[in-house]
Symmetry: C2
């Protein structure tokens, strides 16, 4: 039912903070016996408008039968919504039926399979960023844009709208580089190596990352072991200008606020469609002020992308949208058959990264090699570098200790946590998983091993996770330790143990059974 | 993240009722400082399993920062979920990560555009009826089955699964009749005339109806002005056996519980796709034990179905699914250009219905004629009636007062409210809307006039609504009253007035501008 926001007939109520975290949905609570609720004919889950102190929020209505939560004469607001009002408990507020968000007609057209134009996407993304959508409406948008109905032009409109609705850095520089991976491979912390290498080469690399959504650690979670990652916009800007790079969490910078809201419904549905992935990643890069991006698409039997044709299709969608957004993009398709490095979980991954930077002999070779290759690609964006020289330049920066110096400067600038890679604090409760056959490791299930690390407590418990002692192609005999699980809490350890008992995540077989992927490097 | 419901590592907490009405979604509330919440790595909006007293509910997690709502060591449950447990406040409960509902894999396949089989729909509908789906998952299902992806076989699977998950009447009779309208036309209360007419003819007609979802009155809301409509399964059964008919609300009979849950997300999205409409209507008819159904599809510029090709396509979908369910179906396409009768709103519509039954000269002709035609169609399901005689038999039953007697018997049996059609209690606050031009009424917007009635308070306020004084084709001069609005509360009256000031819902023009529909009767 549409309605009438201009109406003056709304009653005055006392505002009350209801301390329920409703995850990016504004919820308003009215007592069932409240005269206003009864008179207005509000319906369950309908949209209402709350005004106070010149502020206005749209919220979804929940009805309450407990005066301890909200009394008659009060209007309760969920935590986020209450903060948006910027007033004290008890402040006078008015509540009225709300016009549905302006973009609702466009949403309905998308649900019915129509193509939307640029203005439609702008209106929808604006309403999402402003918290005007309920969980139901957000889900409808995410599902309606999940499949083939989004053509590549629409993906561009979506990405462009996401940029338009957030803040944007301008570095006043013709060359601002970044690297990104589409995710899905545990331990793949190359950003924490690429950033200090290219920064040491003198390139501007303002890297903002996400926290883990369904994985055992995101780059932001791992960097947080070393330094503070929640930096306000201005501080971030200052660090990048001083040190040519940063490794920060993207959330505080408000770069693509609509994307953060959409994740709240994508995660429970495990939805990660190409359209949403491309729009989400590229919008954040443009907002971060990047001009050149190297994008990592790993393929493998348990990676997000499983076949080369799928990887090529995704690459082309990224390339089309990046070109429309005037972002120079270099896509690399990489080996995603197994985790990268040894550690899975924030502290374990931070240890691997620091070992590589410190040229420690214990450093994982695959992490070092992958990071050097990606850094080399980025360095070749520098017009003064000869094609093909990037890798050697990157290696020289790393081997000489200049990458470590650059990383330490960034850590100091963001606020060091004093991490020591030779004495990492790892969860004291441990168990080991052993080989049950002789042979060669022919498979490591990325999804399963990630789940073991999550059950062990990662990423919430920084010191929890999985430490791999064997990788693809390694020869093993019965009883060899395949990996060690670390936890802080007995319950977590037990959950993880039960999960490994169902399945170890390792396949042991013959050398000729090793799966092959034919990737560029 | 998948998980581990067999695990014994879950902690014990005290159960607490949280008096928030969450509308068919089970919600569990944990304090952010609760040791269990911190140890388990639960995520916002993730699914958890609460067990107490041998009962188990799946619920969506909300995090709370207020000990007045839920303390550490307590687990709060929303009202519905708490009732499902059947225990007292303070009872010991365990909380653990939940396996996702079994049908989740099928849901994800549907989201990705795949065709589902019969077992998939059974699993999904079972989980929905058992409140295993969150609002996000319900919305995903509704949007993913909204468009052309549902073939007619899948619509049958959905309808069949809805029947399988609820109760079902068996009247032990070869002829159990019903009529239904797809909705969208205000005042269209023919069921309240058809039931007493066909019951008086001796046919079994156990009519269960819905309350208004987005309209100003459903049949259940209007019947409630005359009699009690919330009748338990056994009472309903007894009344039908005694009086050959009833007019009850379908909700208490638990005939298609999944449908009631789906409505909670369809309503806020204004979604009413052919697949869901057909499955919803036919599942309820089968569950009610009907063998023969007359289905009314009104068409018109502001009806749910706007063109004859659309109506024919919908008719064929209904016919295909009805045949698969062994239901004899007679679809009639009717004139949906304007409201039926004069009154819009529960009391006003009850008045119109009783005027027709009492053969009062003030009775609306269109409501009488339409009801007689539909009743005539149903009567012709009687093998002893000659084809073409149904209308005359229905008219004879109505004119003779036998329909009124039948209705009064049903009213008495359900519990009379003592309504008097000559002195209906109408909302005392009124205003009138006048013609602003001379001419002929050439259009009445069903959607707009319904909204005016809702703003005036209908259906919650029974006595509120709109009384039409002019209908299509009527000649008017400037200042003539087009309709009168009734309300009980000043706020409602003001909302309705503002809505009529934007637009009266009436179009006045020349006789030749009257839209035509070519329908069977």
């Amino acid at each position: 039912m549409a309605s009438n926001s201009e109406c003056d007939a709304s009653s005055k109520l006392a505002l009350r903070r209801v301390a329920i975290d409703t995850y990016h949905e504004n919820v308003v609570y009215l007592n069932r016996d409240c005269a206003l609720y009864r008179a207005e004919g509000f319906q369950a889950l309908s949209k209402v408008e709350v005004r106070a102190n010149g502020q206005k929020v749209l919220a979804t209505l929940n009805v309450v039968d407990d005066v301890n939560i909200v009394r008659c004469g009060e209007v309760g607001l969920s935590e986020d919504a209450f903060l948006q009002m910027g007033v004290e408990d008890g402040h006078t507020a008015t509540v009225s039926q709300a016009e549905p968000p302006e973009s609702m007609a466009a949403l309905f057209r998308k649900i019915n399979g129509e193509r939307l134009n640029r203005a439609d996407f702008l209106a929808i993304v604006h309403d999402i960023a402003q918290h005007h959508y309920s969980k139901i409406e957000l889900t409808a948008f995410v599902v309606a844009t999940n499949r083939g109905e989004m053509d590549r032009e629409e993906v561009f409109f979506l990405a462009d709208a996401m940029v338009a609705c957030g803040r944007r850095f301008d570095w006043q520089s013709p060359l601002v580089v970044d690297k990104h991976c589409i995710g899905g491979i545990p331990g793949n912390r190359t950003s924490m190596l690429v950033v200090p290498i290219v920064a040491a080469h003198g390139m501007l690399c303002p890297k903002t990352s996400s926290r883990a959504i369904t994985s055992p650690a995101g780059t932001a979670d791992t960097m947080e072991v070393l330094a503070n990652v929640e930096l306000p916009f201005d501080k971030l800007s200052e660090i990048v200008r001083a040190h040519r790079g940063c490794l920060a969490w993207g959330g505080t910078a408000n770069l693509s606020p609509a994307d953060d809201v959409l994740i709240s419904v994508e995660r429970p549905l495990s939805l990660d469609s190409p359209a949403q992935m491309v729009a989400s990643i590229l919008s954040k890069k443009i907002a971060a002020g990047s001009t050149h991006l190297v994008l990592d698409i790993p393929i493998g039997p348990t990676a997000k992308v499983r076949t080369m044709p799928d990887a090529q299709r995704l690459r082309q969608l990224f390339e089309y949208v990046a070109a429309r957004m005037h972002l120079s993009l270099d896509v690399v398709i990489t080996d995603g058959r197994q985790p990268v490095g040894f550690g899975i979980g924030p502290v374990l991954e931070a240890r691997d990264v620091m070992w590589v930077l410190e040229n420690d002999p214990r450093a994982p070779i695959d992490l070092r090699q992958k990071a050097l290759r990606l850094a080399g690609r980025l360095i070749e964006c520098d017009p003064d570098v000869r094609g093909g020289d990037g890798f050697a330049i990157a290696r020289d920066i790393l081997d000489s200790g200049r990458a470590l110096a650059s990383m330490n400067a960034i850590i100091q600038a963001q606020g060091s946590k004093g991490f020591n890679a030779s004495q990492p604090h790892l969860g004291a409760l441990t168990f080991e998983v052993h080989a049950d056959a002789d042979g060669v490791v022919t498979g490591i299930d990325n999804l399963h091993i990630a789940r073991v690390a999550r059950f062990a407590g990662a990423p919430k418990v920084q010191s929890a996770g999985v430490d791999l002692l064997k990788k693809l192609g390694d020869a093993v005999v019965v009883g060899d330790v395949l990996y060690r699980v670390h936890a802080e809490f007995p319950t977590d350890l037990e959950f993880a143990r039960q999960h490994t008992q169902k399945c170890t995540a390792f396949t042991i077989g013959k050398v000729e059974e090793l799966p092959h992927v034919f990737v560029e490097f």
